[in-house]
């Protein structure tokens, strides 16, 4: 779990250029971390690549926060 969370956090920090301590479980990519809708698509692409999983579009739409992402990837991998 923590390994996945760390890897997800690294991607989010690099992609959105935010401070690591801002990336908390309930941090919304769009409302709290400054992502636009295209950033969220790119984050999902980056998660798919990092973890070797497929995230379908309807599932991607449910990934709103850092915690959502970690939970989804945890369940999927």
């Amino acid at each position: 779990m923590s390994d996945i969370a760390d890897r997800v956090k690294k991607i989010v920090v690099e992609h959105l250029g935010v401070e690591e301590d801002k990336v908390v479980d309930n941090a919304s990519f769009i409302d709290d971390l400054g992502a636009d809708s295209l950033d969220t698509v790119e984050l999902v692409m980056a998660f798919e690549e990092e973890f070797g999983i497929e995230i379908p579009d309807d599932a991607a739409e449910t990934i709103q926060t850092f915690g959502d992402a970690v939970k989804f990837i945890n369940d999927a991998s």
Binding site: L38, V41, E42, M45
Partner: protein, 245 residues
């Protein structure tokens, strides 16, 4: 002037006059080209004429699954996919009040929907690469309309609106999306016209002649080039002054 060395370009409708000229122009600038079209033999001939850096990728643009698969096939054949030129198009002219659903739909499917599918298919690799060029071939009649071509004109105007929307969305990612709108171009299709018909057409064109496929290809080459990095969402009209927009 324009150097596309190391870039890989997919050109649809490459078996036609304008598509072939586009492939020649991009290839001549150093790009690797993927030649797509319905008829394989002319594509093979073109690939042979071009020599190295040319790949034949037959695809029926009315087959949605085949269209969705094409960008991946092209990227695998060429190594990447940096430039997409949606040039393929069909006409099924008919007086509007007699236009059948099939005449309408088949033109929209190939000219607009297949173009959309290919644009969508190249988004992911272009976003990752932070570089991409989409050039969609529209038509003068997309802006002016034309009797007997409600389906074709609608599809070509649709291409312009879609291209602008794509341009908005991906502008910050180093990807540009533009359209080229040819006027009357001398191809196998216009060769069938009588001299009288050609004369009347030319009278409507300030330059007094039809354009050449190479003149369309030059516009596509510019929009595909690194030099056109600040040009996006535009329609480049290449029509001898027939309509000045």
């Amino acid at each position: 002037m324009f150097d596309l060395t190391g870039r890989c370009a997919l050109v649809t409708g490459a078996s036609g006059g304008i598509g072939g000229a586009i492939a020649h122009a991009l290839h001549g600038a150093g790009a690797t080209v993927g030649l797509s079209g319905t008829r394989e033999a002319p594509l093979q001939d073109l690939a042979t004429a071009l020599g190295a850096r040319a790949h034949v990728l037959p695809c029926d643009l009315s087959d949605a699954a085949a269209v969705d698969a094409l960008p991946k096939e092209a990227a695998e054949a060429m190594g990447s996919l940096d430039i997409l030129v949606n040039n393929a198009g069909i006409t099924r002219d008919q007086v509007f009040m007699r236009m059948s659903d099939d005449e309408w739909q088949s033109v929209l499917d190939v000219n607009l929907t297949a173009t959309m599918r290919l644009c969508r298919g190249v988004m992911r690799p272009m976003m990752k690469a932070r570089w991409g060029r989409i050039v969609n071939v529209s038509s003068i009649v997309g802006a002016t309309g034309n009797a007997g071509q409600a389906n074709y004109a609608a599809s070509k105007a649709g291409v312009v609106g879609m291209t602008k929307s794509i341009a908005y969305e991906v502008a910050t990612r180093g990807i540009t999306a533009n359209a080229v709108a040819p006027g009357f171009i001398a191809t196998a299709m216009t060769d069938k016209l009588t001299d009288d018909q050609k004369g009347r057409l030319n009278d409507q064109i300030p330059m007094g002649r039809m354009g050449t496929p190479e003149e369309i290809a030059a516009a596509v080459l510019y929009l595909a080039s690194p030099e056109a990095a600040y040009v996006t969402g535009t329609t480049l009209h290449v029509n001898g002054g027939m309509v000045m927009l």
